[in-house]
């Protein structure tokens, strides 16, 4: 997976900030942002996750004209994506780490490249065998300079996590 163009847009940043319940004016008010140390509208710390919107192949977004595995009136019985080698309903996000080389801001146009990291297995108490896999995404700016390094660890459980 790679993202050729991830423009950091003001409306997108505003919607993302609203979704995480963050009313900080630096995320939507340009006049206010100009008076801050950053001097401009910046993106919230976890915003680069929304680069999924700009990944043409992102498998957790319904695609026009293609079947979608979420339910209508009833479950569809469809698999999310035949190319995925795991059952998405068993996939969970285990860890996420960000390193900010500089802070992303509105007007940046980033690219993202993804490389696989480590994989490992563990026996879970509440969900059977756990398969962990790491992916590392590097976000670079227009000049090719590294802006954010994101490391994500996903886990696929053998069965739904039992609730305590």
């Amino acid at each position: 997976m790679a993202i050729e163009k991830f423009p950091i847009e003001a409306g997108h940043v505003m919607m993302f900030a609203r979704a995480i319940g963050d009313g900080n004016k630096i995320y939507y008010d340009e006049a206010h942002a100009k008076k801050t140390e950053a001097g401009t509208i910046v993106a919230p710390p976890t915003f680069v996750q929304a680069s999924a919107q700009f990944d043409p192949d992102y498998f957790l977004r319904p695609k026009i004209g293609q079947p979608w595995f979420g339910s209508g009136k009833e479950p569809t019985g469809l698999k999310p994506d035949a190319s995925q080698d795991f059952d998405i309903s068993r996939g969970l996000h285990a860890e996420q780490r960000y390193e900010y080389h500089r802070y992303p801001k509105v007007g940046d146009v980033l690219t993202a490249t993804v490389k696989p990291g480590k994989t490992w297995e563990k026996e879970g108490r509440r969900s059977g065998k756990l398969k962990f896999s790491e992916t590392i995404t590097e976000y670079r700016d227009q000049k090719g300079e590294l802006v954010v390094t994101a490391t994500s660890v996903g886990v696929v459980t053998e069965r739904a996590v039992e609730q305590k």
Binding site: R18, D22, A38, T46, A52, Y100, R159
Partner: protein, 140 residues
Amino acid sequence: MALKASQLKVGDTHKERIVEDLKRTQIVQYAGASGDYNPVHTDEIFATKVAGYPSTFAHGMLTMGMTGKMLTNYVGDARLTKYGVRFTSQVWPGETLDAMATVKEIRQEGGQHYVDLEVSTVNEKGAEVLHGYATAKIDP
């Protein structure tokens, strides 16, 4: 607004309620903004009948995003250099979450002051749902 090394000490804490009675609509909002439309988060029929969960549940990244709000309120805008978490428990609609940062170390590197924080978010039952760390640039 940024923190000052001279006014911080190890063990200082900052705590915020980041969400009260988490609404399913907020989870939908997060799906729309982030682009993660995995139906386990927004589609009750899929979450219960297909995936076998008691209900839909929040994206881990929503909890990390809301916890990030507590961090940026504390350290100031565009000051973080690192932020990482483990999702230790799923977050369900209706939960109320409190996020806390604890100062672990105040240090200097190449003339720049930094604070290292431990980060923890718990639900209304006291169960930890997120545990992690953050580092921010601070003023002298």
